[in-house]
Amino acid sequence: MDEILIGSVIASTLRLTTPLLLCALAGLVSERAGVVDIGLEGKMLFAAFAAAAAASVGHSTALGLAAGIAVATAMSLIHGFACVSHRGDQVVSGVALNMVAAGLTTVLGIAWFAQGGQTPPVDASIRLTGLVPGWSEPAAAQAALGPWLGALVGHGLLSHNALVYLSLALVGGVWFFLERTRPGLRLRAVGENPAMVDAAGVSVAKLRYAALSINGVLCGLAGSYLTLAQNASFSPNMTSGRGFIALAALIFGKWRPVPTLLACLLFGFLDAMAIRLQGSSLPAVLGGGEVPVQAIQALPYLLTVILLAGFIGQAVAPKALGRPYVKER
């Protein structure tokens, strides 16, 4: 491996991690408050659509972000209405949101833009670009910082857009919120023992709605990242299961922000590596032939299972997770 390759793996890892991380943090906030969120995929998808549609029509980044966040938050609140206010099944609600998002984004996309569900591309001038745009090319970064520093730090770490850094900062933010602030404490408590929170005179429903609103904002950012930063337009089903991977990362990270970040980075890294390993050969002892593409593509998933089985202990979910709160003794 040379420095450019390492740098590009780092850069790719960060790019791939960002939407996962935002989604996983969103799930984390809601699940720590006791509300299962299997609808991450759908919220991210709809947010991606809304952000792309608004940004390309309104020619404004802010408008795109706002639309993405608004739509995802609205979906979170529907989830809350079904599961918090009316004690519906949280998994069913999540599955439903995923289905509605998959269908409705395409229906609306076709109806509004007549491009087969795609949105028109977001203009380059309003896309979120790297803080140091030039460094998105290793060569430019190397020219500025020297071969190793340029590739690894310049291109690998510093070439990204604001949302990437925001998502990393949000890990700290979510941690701080949960561990160091009043609503955070209540939110953690409501996921473990809502009866206690209720008895302490705090509204369980309000807390869960608050958690879901945060969840919506974060999902909105994740979706917006997909269409305003990573890509330039929406295409149907473009989330491709990332919401589920984010859910897996969140469980992998045992519902804690920093381990969740590590899990997301791991998924991002494995994905980035799998991309670069395609076409490599088996070691000579194994015959030396080309490794089947499918095997390489399966690698991240296989490794996850192995890591989970071998090294990560039992993950203990918030105690009240998935259980609607009914006032009872």
Partner: protein, 304 residues
């Protein structure tokens, strides 16, 4: 008089790719003749037979199935409706009432491969496929031949997007694949990956590299960085079927205008007269049979 019917495959008629090309073909026919047609978009395996049969029962003719995946369904139904005219794109069905439309994608891919390496400054070019299936390997194999024949020292990086059907609609991953190839030094990328291609073209645009579109003329998608598109004239083929159906096999290559490279105002600046001249020469050689392009589908491997 019978109404014709078109059955689009999984990607849907707006896939910016071959389904869309077929769609443009019927739409052109519709505009020219003022007649209407029936249509259906497949969303799972079972619907293929269901849709074709429904159309046949309604008395539609000719019924055009777009995509190789519909071959066996079409075969079943066509046997039951010997009087109905059928056509299928991308597959061969040996029945007297079926017209099979095959394309020599390898020839077109060879041509854009040659063009890619001619435009490349680094001598390294890339290929992004959707799923690792024979059709995509056919594209890849032709592309590779074109590159290597033009510059034996050239390197080709090949990537497939995924193993589920989301591989055809994952622009994010497509973009990452392209970026990984750019990092390895490639500066032209050819995507044969359906909706995933959008991400590939965007990545090329962002990195200031060149990209090659597929199936439809996709040059307009990123003007200025789309070197060309390997067009597969499904639209023309479908239009011709509607104009005059005839049973048997049509194998459409460069010679028949079934495949080609696209030149329009969006890539005019990128294709210098010298480049154009070289490409035209290669094209002429293929048509003349001076260059034999190996068809992956025929040999089951890519030995050339």
């Amino acid at each position: 008089e019978a109404q014709p019917a078109v059955i689009f495959d999984m990607g849907g008629k707006f896939d910016k790719s071959f389904n869309e090309a077929a769609y443009r073909g019927v739409e052109r026919w519709k505009k020219e003749t003022g007649k209407t047609y029936l249509e259906f978009e497949i969303s799972n395996d079972t619907q293929r037979a269901q849709a074709i049969r429904r159309m046949a029962e309604r008395g539609a003719s000719p019924i055009i199935s777009v995509g190789f995946a519909q071959a066996s369904a079409l075969e079943q139904v066509a046997k039951d409706f010997p009087k109905t005219q059928f056509a299928i794109v991308d597959a061969k069905v040996n029945l007297p009432n079926v017209q099979s439309l095959l394309f020599k994608e390898h020839e077109g891919s060879y041509l854009v491969g040659a063009m890619a390496i001619l435009a490349s400054k680094t001598g390294k070019v890339g290929f992004v496929g959707g799923m690792d299936i024979p059709l995509i390997r056919k594209f890849q194999c032709g592309y590779e031949q074109g590159v290597k024949a033009t510059n034996p020292k050239a390197e080709v990086f090949t990537n497939m997007t995924g193993t589920t059907s989301t591989a055809w609609a994952d622009p994010t991953r497509g973009g990452e694949l392209a970026k990984a190839q750019f990092a390895k030094g490639s500066d032209v990328v050819f995507a044969a990956a359906g909706g995933t291609g959008t991400g590939v073209y965007q990545a090329a645009k962002d990195a200031g590299k060149l990209a090659i579109g597929v199936d439809s003329n996709q040059n307009h998608m990123q003007p200025g960085t789309m070197l060309t598109s390997m067009v597969k004239r499904v639209d023309v083929a479908v239009y011709n079927v509607l104009k005059g159906w005839k049973p048997g096999l049509s194998d459409l290559g460069l010679k028949e205008g079934g495949v080609d490279y696209a030149l329009d105002e969006y890539n005019a600046k990128l294709v210098s007269p010298a480049l154009k001249a070289k490409v035209e020469a290669i094209k002429a050689d293929i048509i003349a049979g001076k260059i034999k392009v190996v068809d992956y589908m025929a040999t089951g491997n890519c030995k050339y």
